[in-house]
Protein backbone atom coordinates (compact mmCIF):
# COMPACT_ATOMS: atom_id res chain seq x y z
CA UNK A 1 0.00 0.00 0.00
CA UNK A 2 1.00 3.63 -0.41
CA UNK A 3 0.01 6.78 1.49
CA UNK A 4 1.44 10.28 1.32
CA UNK A 5 1.97 10.21 5.07
CA UNK A 6 2.26 7.18 7.34
CA UNK A 7 2.19 7.87 11.09
CA UNK A 8 3.68 5.40 13.56
CA UNK A 9 1.74 5.66 16.81
CA UNK A 10 -1.79 6.81 17.58
CA UNK A 11 -1.13 8.76 20.78
CA UNK A 12 -1.54 12.54 20.99
CA UNK A 13 1.46 13.23 18.71
CA UNK A 14 0.15 10.88 16.04
CA UNK A 15 -3.53 11.77 16.29
CA UNK A 16 -2.78 15.53 16.34
CA UNK A 17 -0.42 15.18 13.39
CA UNK A 18 -3.18 13.38 11.50
CA UNK A 19 -5.78 16.05 12.25
CA UNK A 20 -3.51 18.98 11.40
CA UNK A 21 -2.54 17.18 8.17
CA UNK A 22 -6.20 16.63 7.31
CA UNK A 23 -6.67 20.38 7.62
CA UNK A 24 -3.98 20.65 4.93
CA UNK A 25 -5.80 18.19 2.70
CA UNK A 26 -3.51 15.26 3.46
CA UNK A 27 -5.14 11.96 4.41
CA UNK A 28 -2.68 9.97 6.51
CA UNK A 29 -2.53 6.37 7.66
CA UNK A 30 -1.96 5.79 11.38
CA UNK A 31 -0.33 2.56 12.49
CA UNK A 32 -1.03 1.71 16.13
CA UNK A 33 -0.12 -1.50 17.90
CA UNK A 34 -2.34 -1.20 20.93
CA UNK A 35 -6.05 -1.17 21.57
CA UNK A 36 -7.24 2.15 22.99
CA UNK A 37 -8.06 3.08 25.68
CA UNK A 38 -4.81 2.23 27.44
CA UNK A 39 -3.07 3.69 30.47
CA UNK A 40 -0.50 6.42 29.90
CA UNK A 41 1.21 9.01 32.05
CA UNK A 42 1.61 12.72 31.20
CA UNK A 43 -1.75 14.14 32.22
CA UNK A 44 -1.41 17.89 32.33
CA UNK A 45 -1.41 20.57 29.63
CA UNK A 46 -0.05 24.09 29.55
CA UNK A 47 -1.71 27.17 28.12
CA UNK A 48 -0.19 26.62 24.68
CA UNK A 49 -1.22 22.96 24.82
CA UNK A 50 -4.78 24.07 25.48
CA UNK A 51 -4.52 26.37 22.49
CA UNK A 52 -3.47 23.45 20.26
CA UNK A 53 -6.55 21.55 21.41
CA UNK A 54 -8.70 24.59 20.64
CA UNK A 55 -7.03 24.98 17.24
CA UNK A 56 -8.24 21.44 16.52
CA UNK A 57 -11.78 22.60 17.29
CA UNK A 58 -12.06 20.45 20.41
CA UNK A 59 -12.67 23.02 23.15
CA UNK A 60 -16.37 22.20 23.50
CA UNK A 61 -15.57 18.48 23.58
CA UNK A 62 -13.02 19.04 26.38
CA UNK A 63 -15.58 20.89 28.51
CA UNK A 64 -18.26 18.34 27.65
CA UNK A 65 -16.06 15.54 28.90
CA UNK A 66 -15.58 17.39 32.14
CA UNK A 67 -11.80 17.27 32.19
CA UNK A 68 -10.54 19.27 35.17
CA UNK A 69 -9.76 22.83 34.17
CA UNK A 70 -6.27 23.85 35.16
CA UNK A 71 -5.94 27.55 35.87
CA UNK A 72 -2.45 27.61 37.28
CA UNK A 73 0.42 25.82 38.93
CA UNK A 74 1.25 26.19 42.62
CA UNK A 75 4.78 25.33 43.65
CA UNK A 76 5.60 24.70 47.30
CA UNK A 77 9.23 24.82 48.32
CA UNK A 78 10.78 23.68 51.54
CA UNK A 79 8.99 26.20 53.71
CA UNK A 80 5.36 27.14 53.59
CA UNK A 81 6.20 30.72 52.79
CA UNK A 82 8.52 29.89 49.92
CA UNK A 83 5.74 29.08 47.51
CA UNK A 84 4.71 30.69 44.29
CA UNK A 85 2.16 30.29 41.60
CA UNK A 86 2.01 30.80 37.87
CA UNK A 87 -1.34 31.31 36.16
CA UNK A 88 -2.32 29.55 32.95
CA UNK A 89 -2.42 32.19 30.24
CA UNK A 90 -2.91 32.82 26.56
CA UNK A 91 -1.76 35.63 24.29
CA UNK A 92 -4.16 37.52 22.05
CA UNK A 93 -3.35 38.77 18.54
CA UNK A 94 -1.71 41.87 20.04
CA UNK A 95 0.37 39.69 22.33
CA UNK A 96 -1.55 40.78 25.41
CA UNK A 97 -1.72 38.20 28.19
CA UNK A 98 -5.07 36.88 29.28
CA UNK A 99 -6.12 34.31 31.89
CA UNK A 100 -7.13 31.04 30.30
CA UNK A 101 -8.10 27.49 31.19
CA UNK A 102 -6.21 24.48 30.09
CA UNK A 103 -6.92 20.88 31.06
CA UNK A 104 -5.83 17.91 33.10
CA UNK A 105 -6.66 14.75 31.19
CA UNK A 106 -6.93 11.09 32.06
CA UNK A 107 -4.81 9.91 29.19
CA UNK A 108 -6.66 6.68 28.50
CA UNK A 109 -9.78 8.73 27.77
CA UNK A 110 -8.17 11.76 26.13
CA UNK A 111 -5.91 9.77 23.82
CA UNK A 112 -8.82 7.64 22.64
CA UNK A 113 -10.93 10.74 22.04
CA UNK A 114 -8.16 12.27 19.90
CA UNK A 115 -7.56 9.10 17.92
CA UNK A 116 -11.28 8.51 17.33
CA UNK A 117 -11.61 12.11 16.18
CA UNK A 118 -8.69 11.74 13.74
CA UNK A 119 -10.39 8.69 12.22
CA UNK A 120 -13.74 10.47 12.12
CA UNK A 121 -12.11 13.30 10.19
CA UNK A 122 -10.61 11.00 7.60
CA UNK A 123 -7.43 9.33 8.84
CA UNK A 124 -7.08 5.58 8.27
CA UNK A 125 -6.23 3.59 11.38
CA UNK A 126 -4.44 0.26 10.96
CA UNK A 127 -3.55 -2.09 13.78
CA UNK A 128 -0.02 -3.28 13.67
CA UNK A 129 3.49 -2.79 14.90
CA UNK A 130 6.18 -0.94 12.97
CA UNK A 131 9.20 -3.17 12.36
CA UNK A 132 11.72 -1.17 10.36
CA UNK A 133 11.79 1.69 7.89
CA UNK A 134 12.28 1.06 4.18
CA UNK A 135 15.10 3.10 2.70
CA UNK A 136 15.83 4.03 -0.92
CA UNK A 137 19.38 3.68 -2.25
CA UNK A 138 20.15 7.28 -1.34
CA UNK A 139 18.99 6.76 2.25
CA UNK A 140 15.62 8.46 1.89
CA UNK A 141 12.95 6.86 4.05
CA UNK A 142 10.24 5.68 1.65
CA UNK A 143 8.05 3.62 3.96
CA UNK A 144 8.08 0.93 6.58
CA UNK A 145 7.50 -2.71 7.19
CA UNK A 146 4.85 -3.52 9.74
CA UNK A 147 3.69 -6.64 11.44
CA UNK A 148 -0.05 -6.42 11.24
CA UNK A 149 -2.57 -7.61 13.81
CA UNK A 150 -3.40 -10.63 11.62
CA UNK A 151 0.24 -11.72 11.78
CA UNK A 152 1.11 -10.76 8.22
CA UNK A 153 3.93 -8.38 7.28
CA UNK A 154 2.89 -5.39 5.25
CA UNK A 155 5.03 -2.87 3.37
CA UNK A 156 3.57 0.61 3.68
CA UNK A 157 5.14 3.15 1.32
CA UNK A 158 5.12 6.86 2.17
CA UNK A 159 6.36 10.24 1.00
CA UNK A 160 6.75 11.21 4.64
CA UNK A 161 6.96 8.84 7.58
CA UNK A 162 6.15 10.36 10.99
CA UNK A 163 7.49 8.67 14.09
CA UNK A 164 5.00 9.42 16.84
CA UNK A 165 5.92 6.39 18.96
CA UNK A 166 6.62 8.38 22.11
CA UNK A 167 9.33 7.26 24.49
CA UNK A 168 9.53 3.95 22.66
CA UNK A 169 11.54 5.99 20.09
CA UNK A 170 10.85 3.41 17.41
CA UNK A 171 12.73 5.04 14.54
CA UNK A 172 15.78 6.03 16.58
CA UNK A 173 16.01 2.50 17.97
CA UNK A 174 16.19 1.03 14.46
CA UNK A 175 19.35 3.12 13.95
CA UNK A 176 18.50 3.35 10.28
CA UNK A 177 17.41 6.94 9.71
CA UNK A 178 17.88 9.32 12.63
CA UNK A 179 21.09 10.33 14.35
CA UNK A 180 22.06 8.60 17.57
CA UNK A 181 20.03 8.70 20.77
CA UNK A 182 21.79 10.08 23.82
CA UNK A 183 21.00 10.11 27.48
CA UNK A 184 19.57 13.42 28.60
CA UNK A 185 20.39 15.66 31.52
CA UNK A 186 17.88 13.99 33.87
CA UNK A 187 18.75 10.40 33.06
CA UNK A 188 19.64 9.66 36.69
CA UNK A 189 16.09 10.41 37.82
CA UNK A 190 13.24 7.99 38.39
CA UNK A 191 9.50 8.67 38.49
CA UNK A 192 7.17 6.57 40.67
CA UNK A 193 3.50 7.37 40.36
CA UNK A 194 -0.09 6.30 40.83
CA UNK A 195 -3.53 7.81 41.40
CA UNK A 196 -4.96 8.66 44.81
CA UNK A 197 -8.60 8.86 45.86
CA UNK A 198 -10.06 11.47 48.16
CA UNK A 199 -7.12 13.86 48.33
CA UNK A 200 -7.91 17.27 49.79
CA UNK A 201 -7.99 19.97 47.13
CA UNK A 202 -7.91 23.76 47.19
CA UNK A 203 -11.21 25.54 46.68
CA UNK A 204 -11.50 29.17 47.71
CA UNK A 205 -13.03 30.53 44.51
CA UNK A 206 -9.85 32.15 43.18
CA UNK A 207 -7.89 31.01 40.14
CA UNK A 208 -4.83 30.56 42.31
CA UNK A 209 -6.60 28.13 44.62
CA UNK A 210 -8.78 26.49 41.99
CA UNK A 211 -9.52 22.87 42.87
CA UNK A 212 -8.17 21.49 39.62
CA UNK A 213 -4.77 23.21 39.56
CA UNK A 214 -1.48 21.39 39.41
CA UNK A 215 0.53 21.49 42.61
CA UNK A 216 4.25 20.77 42.78
CA UNK A 217 5.96 20.04 46.07
CA UNK A 218 9.68 19.98 46.30
CA UNK A 219 11.72 18.72 49.17
CA UNK A 220 15.20 19.38 47.88
CA UNK A 221 17.13 19.31 44.66
CA UNK A 222 15.79 16.61 42.30
CA UNK A 223 13.32 15.34 44.92
CA UNK A 224 9.76 16.45 44.26
CA UNK A 225 6.15 15.40 43.71
CA UNK A 226 3.35 16.31 41.31
CA UNK A 227 -0.35 16.54 42.25
CA UNK A 228 -2.63 16.60 39.20
CA UNK A 229 -6.42 16.24 39.61
CA UNK A 230 -8.00 13.83 37.11
CA UNK A 231 -11.65 14.11 38.17
CA UNK A 232 -13.65 15.13 41.22
CA UNK A 233 -12.23 12.27 43.27
CA UNK A 234 -8.98 11.02 41.79
CA UNK A 235 -5.64 12.82 41.71
CA UNK A 236 -2.51 11.69 39.90
CA UNK A 237 0.40 11.91 42.30
CA UNK A 238 3.96 11.18 41.26
CA UNK A 239 7.21 11.10 43.18
CA UNK A 240 10.40 11.96 41.30
CA UNK A 241 13.78 11.27 42.85
CA UNK A 242 17.34 10.34 41.95
CA UNK A 243 17.48 6.63 41.13
CA UNK A 244 20.22 6.14 43.72
CA UNK A 245 17.93 7.39 46.49
CA UNK A 246 15.24 4.92 45.49
CA UNK A 247 17.69 2.02 45.30
CA UNK A 248 19.23 2.89 48.66
CA UNK A 249 15.85 2.63 50.35
CA UNK A 250 15.51 -1.02 49.25
CA UNK A 251 11.72 -0.74 49.19
CA UNK A 252 9.19 -1.98 46.66
CA UNK A 253 7.89 0.81 44.45
CA UNK A 254 4.54 0.57 46.27
CA UNK A 255 6.05 0.86 49.75
CA UNK A 256 8.39 3.59 48.62
CA UNK A 257 5.50 5.52 47.10
CA UNK A 258 3.25 5.28 50.14
CA UNK A 259 6.04 6.32 52.49
CA UNK A 260 7.01 9.28 50.31
CA UNK A 261 3.41 10.48 50.23
CA UNK A 262 3.73 10.87 54.00
CA UNK A 263 7.29 12.12 54.20
CA UNK A 264 8.16 14.14 51.12
CA UNK A 265 6.39 17.33 52.12
CA UNK A 266 4.12 18.19 55.07
CA UNK A 267 1.68 20.00 52.78
CA UNK A 268 1.42 16.95 50.53
CA UNK A 269 0.93 14.63 53.50
CA UNK A 270 -1.82 16.91 54.83
CA UNK A 271 -3.71 16.57 51.58
CA UNK A 272 -3.69 12.78 51.68
CA UNK A 273 -4.69 11.81 55.22
CA UNK A 274 -5.73 8.33 54.11
CA UNK A 275 -4.02 6.66 51.22
CA UNK A 276 -6.33 4.85 48.84
CA UNK A 277 -4.81 4.12 45.44
CA UNK A 278 -6.98 4.03 42.33
CA UNK A 279 -4.26 2.64 40.09
CA UNK A 280 -1.21 0.41 40.36
CA UNK A 281 2.10 2.04 41.19
CA UNK A 282 4.09 2.64 37.99
CA UNK A 283 7.80 3.27 37.55
CA UNK A 284 9.74 5.03 34.80
CA UNK A 285 13.49 5.07 35.36
CA UNK A 286 16.11 7.10 33.50
CA UNK A 287 13.60 8.85 31.33
CA UNK A 288 15.67 11.63 29.84
CA UNK A 289 17.03 11.30 26.29
CA UNK A 290 17.57 13.13 23.05
CA UNK A 291 17.73 11.94 19.43
CA UNK A 292 19.91 13.89 17.05
CA UNK A 293 18.89 14.50 13.43
CA UNK A 294 15.30 13.61 14.16
CA UNK A 295 14.12 14.89 10.79
CA UNK A 296 15.54 13.97 7.42
CA UNK A 297 14.75 12.80 3.94
CA UNK A 298 11.30 11.26 4.10
CA UNK A 299 10.86 11.30 7.87
CA UNK A 300 10.17 13.36 10.97
CA UNK A 301 10.02 12.46 14.64
CA UNK A 302 7.37 14.29 16.66
CA UNK A 303 7.16 14.79 20.43
CA UNK A 304 8.66 12.27 22.84
CA UNK A 305 9.92 10.12 19.97
CA UNK A 306 12.94 12.42 19.70
CA UNK A 307 13.34 14.02 23.09
CA UNK A 308 12.15 13.93 26.67
CA UNK A 309 13.67 16.06 29.39
CA UNK A 310 11.74 15.87 32.64
CA UNK A 311 8.09 15.83 33.68
CA UNK A 312 8.20 18.67 36.21
CA UNK A 313 6.30 21.41 34.42
CA UNK A 314 4.10 19.20 32.22
CA UNK A 315 5.35 20.09 28.77
CA UNK A 316 5.00 16.65 27.15
CA UNK A 317 1.51 16.90 25.64
CA UNK A 318 2.07 20.53 24.73
CA UNK A 319 5.30 19.90 22.84
CA UNK A 320 3.90 16.86 21.03
CA UNK A 321 0.78 18.67 19.84
CA UNK A 322 2.60 21.85 18.92
CA UNK A 323 5.25 20.01 16.93
CA UNK A 324 2.43 18.22 15.13
CA UNK A 325 0.86 21.58 14.33
CA UNK A 326 4.15 22.99 13.04
CA UNK A 327 4.85 19.90 10.97
CA UNK A 328 1.60 19.82 8.98
CA UNK A 329 2.14 22.87 6.70
CA UNK A 330 5.80 21.92 6.25
CA UNK A 331 4.74 18.46 5.06
CA UNK A 332 2.08 19.99 2.82
CA UNK A 333 4.75 22.14 1.10
CA UNK A 334 7.05 19.16 0.78
CA UNK A 335 4.31 17.11 -0.85
CA UNK A 336 3.79 20.04 -3.22
CA UNK A 337 7.39 19.64 -4.31
CA UNK A 338 9.19 22.09 -2.05
CA UNK A 339 12.67 21.15 -0.77
CA UNK A 340 12.42 17.71 -2.37
CA UNK A 341 16.14 17.60 -3.17
CA UNK A 342 17.46 19.17 0.03
CA UNK A 343 19.85 17.12 2.15
CA UNK A 344 17.32 17.58 4.96
CA UNK A 345 14.01 18.89 3.62
CA UNK A 346 12.80 19.47 7.17
CA UNK A 347 15.90 21.16 8.57
CA UNK A 348 14.09 24.42 9.40
CA UNK A 349 11.32 22.56 11.23
CA UNK A 350 13.87 20.50 13.12
CA UNK A 351 15.81 23.58 14.19
CA UNK A 352 12.66 25.35 15.35
CA UNK A 353 11.66 22.38 17.50
CA UNK A 354 15.17 21.87 18.86
CA UNK A 355 15.56 25.50 19.88
CA UNK A 356 12.20 25.46 21.62
CA UNK A 357 13.05 22.43 23.72
CA UNK A 358 16.51 23.79 24.47
CA UNK A 359 14.71 26.74 26.04
CA UNK A 360 12.65 24.35 28.15
CA UNK A 361 15.76 22.55 29.26
CA UNK A 362 17.40 25.81 30.29
CA UNK A 363 14.30 26.70 32.30
CA UNK A 364 14.31 23.33 34.07
CA UNK A 365 18.05 23.47 34.75
CA UNK A 366 17.62 26.96 36.18
CA UNK A 367 14.81 25.81 38.45
CA UNK A 368 17.17 23.33 40.10
CA UNK A 369 20.48 25.18 39.87
CA UNK A 370 19.27 28.69 40.69
CA UNK A 371 16.07 28.49 42.74
CA UNK A 372 16.54 31.95 44.20
CA UNK A 373 16.85 33.63 40.82
CA UNK A 374 14.01 31.46 39.50
CA UNK A 375 11.66 32.55 42.27
CA UNK A 376 12.72 36.21 41.93
CA UNK A 377 12.11 36.13 38.19
CA UNK A 378 8.67 34.57 38.68
CA UNK A 379 7.67 36.97 41.46
CA UNK A 380 8.90 40.28 40.25
CA UNK A 381 11.65 40.63 37.75
CA UNK A 382 10.37 38.74 34.69
CA UNK A 383 6.88 37.66 35.69
CA UNK A 384 5.39 38.01 32.23
CA UNK A 385 8.19 36.17 30.46
CA UNK A 386 8.10 33.38 33.03
CA UNK A 387 4.38 33.09 32.47
CA UNK A 388 5.08 32.59 28.76
CA UNK A 389 7.56 29.83 29.44
CA UNK A 390 5.21 28.03 31.79
CA UNK A 391 2.52 28.30 29.14
CA UNK A 392 4.81 26.56 26.64
CA UNK A 393 5.30 29.60 24.43
CA UNK A 394 8.88 28.60 23.83
CA UNK A 395 9.41 29.00 20.10
CA UNK A 396 11.16 31.80 18.29
CA UNK A 397 8.01 33.27 16.79
CA UNK A 398 6.75 33.64 20.36
CA UNK A 399 9.33 36.28 21.25
CA UNK A 400 11.93 33.82 22.43
CA UNK A 401 14.58 33.80 23.67
CA UNK A 402 13.10 36.21 26.22
CA UNK A 403 15.08 38.42 28.63
CA UNK A 404 14.34 35.86 31.35
CA UNK A 405 15.94 33.16 29.28
CA UNK A 406 19.02 35.25 28.60
CA UNK A 407 19.29 35.79 32.34
CA UNK A 408 19.06 32.04 32.97
CA UNK A 409 21.67 31.30 30.35
CA UNK A 410 23.98 33.81 31.99
CA UNK A 411 23.48 32.16 35.36
CA UNK A 412 23.94 28.66 33.96
CA UNK A 413 27.15 29.61 32.22
CA UNK A 414 28.75 31.46 35.09
CA UNK A 415 31.95 32.03 33.10
CA UNK A 416 30.01 33.12 30.06
CA UNK A 417 26.68 32.67 28.34
CA UNK A 418 25.51 29.08 28.04
CA UNK A 419 24.82 28.63 24.39
CA UNK A 420 24.09 25.83 22.01
CA UNK A 421 25.50 26.01 18.50
CA UNK A 422 23.16 24.76 15.85
CA UNK A 423 25.55 24.88 12.93
CA UNK A 424 26.82 21.35 13.06
CA UNK A 425 24.46 18.53 13.85
CA UNK A 426 26.89 16.64 16.00
CA UNK A 427 28.88 19.40 17.60
CA UNK A 428 26.71 21.22 20.07
CA UNK A 429 28.98 23.55 21.98
CA UNK A 430 27.73 23.87 25.51
CA UNK A 431 30.13 25.45 27.97
CA UNK A 432 28.86 23.65 31.04
CA UNK A 433 27.24 20.32 31.52
CA UNK A 434 27.53 17.60 28.98
CA UNK A 435 24.01 16.77 28.06
CA UNK A 436 24.36 17.48 24.36
CA UNK A 437 27.79 16.01 24.05
CA UNK A 438 28.33 13.02 21.76
CA UNK A 439 30.58 11.43 24.36
CA UNK A 440 27.74 11.33 26.82
CA UNK A 441 27.04 7.66 27.28
CA UNK A 442 24.62 6.85 24.50
CA UNK A 443 21.34 5.23 25.29
CA UNK A 444 22.24 2.92 22.55
CA UNK A 445 22.42 -0.37 24.30
CA UNK A 446 21.10 -3.67 23.15
CA UNK A 447 18.30 -3.77 25.70
CA UNK A 448 16.94 -0.44 24.49
CA UNK A 449 16.58 -1.90 21.02
CA UNK A 450 14.16 -4.48 22.39
CA UNK A 451 11.74 -1.84 23.61
CA UNK A 452 8.96 -1.88 21.09
CA UNK A 453 6.09 0.00 22.63
CA UNK A 454 5.65 2.87 24.99
CA UNK A 455 3.94 0.57 27.41
CA UNK A 456 6.90 -1.79 27.46
CA UNK A 457 9.14 1.19 28.06
CA UNK A 458 6.96 2.35 30.91
CA UNK A 459 7.82 -0.81 32.81
CA UNK A 460 5.77 -3.00 35.12
CA UNK A 461 2.15 -2.14 35.61
Amino acid sequence: MKSEVVIVGGGPAGASSAMFLLEQGVKPVILEAEDFPRYHIGESMTGAGGKAVRDLGLEAEMYKRGYPTKQGVNVYGNSERSSWWVPVTGRDENWNLFAWDTWQVRRSDFDKMLLDEAVKRGATLLKGKAQKPILADDGTVVGLEAKMADGGVQRMMSDVLLDCSGQATWLANTKMATGPKYLGAYDKQIAIFSQVRGAIRDHDGTRQKHKDNTIIFYKKKYHWAWFIPLDEDVVSVGIVIPSSYFLDRKETPHDFYVRELHELHPLLAARIPEIELAEAVHVIPNYSFQVKNFCGRGFMCIGDSHRFIDPIFSFGLTVAMREAQFAAPVIRSYLNGENRDAANPFAAHQLRCEKGIDILEDVLDSFWEHPLAFALFVHSRYTEFMTDMFAGRIYEHERQPSPALFAFRKLLGREGMREASYENDDLYSVPIGSRYHPERAPLWEEDAADVETTEAWLGPR
Binding site: S82, H370, L372
Partner: protein
Protein backbone atom coordinates in the same frame (compact mmCIF):
# COMPACT_ATOMS: atom_id res chain seq x y z
CA UNK B 1 22.04 55.19 59.67
CA UNK B 2 24.80 53.46 57.81
CA UNK B 3 23.97 50.89 55.14
CA UNK B 4 24.95 48.19 57.59
CA UNK B 5 22.59 49.50 60.23
CA UNK B 6 19.79 49.88 57.74
CA UNK B 7 20.22 46.33 56.53
CA UNK B 8 20.27 44.99 60.06
CA UNK B 9 17.25 47.04 61.00
CA UNK B 10 15.30 45.84 57.97
CA UNK B 11 16.20 42.21 58.52
CA UNK B 12 15.44 42.34 62.25
CA UNK B 13 12.17 44.18 61.92
CA UNK B 14 10.78 42.83 58.65
CA UNK B 15 12.25 39.49 57.71
CA UNK B 16 13.05 37.21 60.60
CA UNK B 17 10.53 34.54 61.42
CA UNK B 18 11.11 32.57 64.59
CA UNK B 19 14.60 33.88 65.31
CA UNK B 20 15.25 36.42 68.08
CA UNK B 21 15.89 39.66 66.15
CA UNK B 22 18.50 40.82 68.65
CA UNK B 23 20.61 37.74 68.03
CA UNK B 24 21.26 38.83 64.46
CA UNK B 25 24.45 40.70 63.69
CA UNK B 26 26.44 41.46 60.55
CA UNK B 27 28.04 38.02 60.54
CA UNK B 28 24.94 35.92 61.15
CA UNK B 29 24.43 33.28 58.46
CA UNK B 30 21.07 34.35 57.11
CA UNK B 31 20.32 31.69 54.53
CA UNK B 32 22.14 28.51 55.45
CA UNK B 33 20.93 28.79 59.03
CA UNK B 34 17.37 29.40 57.88
CA UNK B 35 17.02 32.83 59.52
CA UNK B 36 15.35 34.06 56.35
CA UNK B 37 13.59 32.02 53.69
CA UNK B 38 13.48 32.54 49.95
CA UNK B 39 10.50 34.89 50.06
CA UNK B 40 12.25 37.04 52.65
CA UNK B 41 15.39 36.98 50.55
CA UNK B 42 13.47 38.35 47.61
CA UNK B 43 12.15 41.19 49.77
CA UNK B 44 15.69 41.85 50.92
CA UNK B 45 16.88 42.12 47.31
CA UNK B 46 14.09 44.55 46.54
CA UNK B 47 14.98 46.57 49.64
CA UNK B 48 18.64 46.74 48.66
CA UNK B 49 17.81 47.84 45.13
CA UNK B 50 15.37 50.53 46.24
CA UNK B 51 17.57 51.82 49.02
CA UNK B 52 20.84 51.96 47.07
CA UNK B 53 19.61 52.53 43.53
CA UNK B 54 21.84 49.64 42.48
CA UNK B 55 20.21 46.87 40.49
CA UNK B 56 21.42 43.42 41.38
CA UNK B 57 22.35 41.99 37.98
CA UNK B 58 20.56 38.77 37.01
CA UNK B 59 23.71 36.73 37.22
CA UNK B 60 24.43 38.00 40.76
CA UNK B 61 21.12 36.73 42.14
CA UNK B 62 22.93 33.97 43.97
CA UNK B 63 22.44 32.99 47.62
CA UNK B 64 26.18 33.28 48.26
CA UNK B 65 25.97 37.03 47.76
CA UNK B 66 23.43 37.36 50.55
CA UNK B 67 24.74 35.01 53.23
CA UNK B 68 25.58 37.74 55.74
CA UNK B 69 25.05 41.47 56.09
CA UNK B 70 28.79 41.90 55.55
CA UNK B 71 28.59 40.03 52.27
CA UNK B 72 25.62 42.07 51.13
CA UNK B 73 27.62 45.21 51.89
CA UNK B 74 30.51 43.85 49.86
CA UNK B 75 28.20 43.09 46.96
CA UNK B 76 26.78 46.62 47.01
CA UNK B 77 30.28 48.11 47.08
CA UNK B 78 31.37 45.89 44.22
CA UNK B 79 28.37 46.81 42.11
CA UNK B 80 28.76 50.52 42.84
CA UNK B 81 32.37 50.43 41.69
CA UNK B 82 31.53 48.89 38.35
Amino acid sequence: MSMRQELLHFIRSELVGGTDPNSINEQTQLIDSGVIDSMALMRLITFVEERTGVRIPDDEVLPDNFQTVEEIEALIARLKSR
